[in-house]
């Protein structure tokens, strides 16, 4: 419900900011847009933290969690505890970095310089949270380390994340060219891809681990449908993905290059 409200606030902020001209109106909606986007990134991260940490599933496959209890990592922890909040903060820093690199890539002048400065500063936050979160996750969810040591090829995924992090650091410094900005953005993409695939690899074969043990967890085996249904789904998935990919290629080509600067008083879209 909170995610839904935040999504609604993002939408109406863009819509409302240009309806009235006044010294407070547009900045107010810009602030709402900024806060709702930041909270959305944090809540998405906290949701991922809950999936990695595990939830109190019962034998029927259902669970209830309070939004928070005592913020401690314990059996009666709520949706928000210190671990899930940390994952939320890491998500916020990672996405703010990704967004700042995108703005640097798409703009010119003062905005581009400010975005680059934010990206350079933000990198340290991303790096510190990545190291801290990785160490804590290995203790919070032992399955991650067990999967990595059981199938060592899986270290490829954290390696992609580390390479992305190093790439961002390297391309954010030195000569300031469009090619380096593009490489920095793609490094950030590699970092996000590496982190998320590492989490998925670490949890396999579980889709939602239970705090009460493996017997209560939801896995790809006890939530599966028939092979026939999955084969039909795969055929339609391929068709759908071809259409979606074609659409994205068209859109990104259509809007390729730098965007023009504005005064900030125009429509928000």
């Amino acid at each position: 419900m909170m995610v839904l409200w935040l999504l609604i606030l993002r939408g109406i902020s863009i819509e409302f900011r240009s309806h009235v001209s006044g010294p407070l109106w547009s900045p107010f909606w810009d602030l709402i847009f900024c806060l709702s986007s930041a909270l959305l990134a944090i809540f998405y991260g906290a949701a991922l933290g809950n999936v990695v940490r595990g939830v109190p599933l019962d034998a029927s496959g259902y669970f209830f969690e309070a939004l928070w209890t005592n913020f401690r990592f314990s059996k009666d922890a709520g949706i928000l505890d210190w671990y899930t909040i940390l994952v939320g903060l890491a998500a916020y820093f990672a996405l703010a970095e990704h967004g700042a690199l995108w703005v640097a890539l798409k703009t010119d002048g003062a905005v581009r310089q400010r975005a680059q400065r934010i990206a350079r500063l933000g990198w340290w936050g991303v790096a510190l949270l990545t190291v801290g979160l990785t160490l804590i996750t290995l203790r919070v969810q032992p399955l991650v380390l067990a999967n990595l040591t059981g199938r060592p090829w899986g270290f490829l995924f954290p390696a992609i994340a580390i390479a992305g992090l190093a790439g961002m650091f390297a391309f954010l410094r030195g000569e300031n060219t469009a090619a380096r900005e593009r490489k920095a953005f793609f490094s950030s993409s590699a970092y996000l891809l590496g982190m998320l695939t590492s989490a998925a690899f670490g949890l396999y074969p579980y889709v939602l681990p239970a705090r009460g043990g493996a017997a209560l967890s939801l896995s790809i085996y006890n939530t599966r449908t028939s092979d026939r249904a999955m084969q039909i789904g795969l055929a339609w998935w391929i068709i759908g993905m071809i259409l979606a990919t074609s659409y994205f290629i068209f859109v990104y080509r259509r809007f390729a290059g730098k965007v023009g600067g504005g005064t900030g008083d125009e429509h928000g879209y």
């Binding site: 993002r10 900045p27 810009d30 602030l31 847009f33 900024c34 986007s37 930041a38 959305l40 990134a41 998405y44 916020y92 990672a94 996405l95 703010a96 970095e97 990704h98 967004g99 700042a100 690199l101 995108w102 703005v103 905005v111 400010r114 975005a115 934010i118 993409s189 996000l192 891809l193 998320l196 695939t197 998925a200 396999y204 074969p205 889709v207 790809i220 085996y221 599966r224 092979d227 999955m230 084969q231 789904g233 795969l234 998935w237 994205f248 900030g264």
Partner: protein, 36 residues
């Protein structure tokens, strides 16, 4: 590869790609006031 594993991989990749494509929008919006 078994079908449940195939779907696990597909869903993981879809979520990761969603984060890449929507994440920079959320990210730049969360620092938008800094740009003005």
């Amino acid at each position: 590869m078994a079908m449940p594993t195939v779907w696990f991989c597909l869903v993981a990749v879809m979520i990761a790609v969603y984060v890449l494509l929507d994440g920079f929008d959320l990210g730049r919006a969360s620092v938008v006031s800094t740009y003005r």
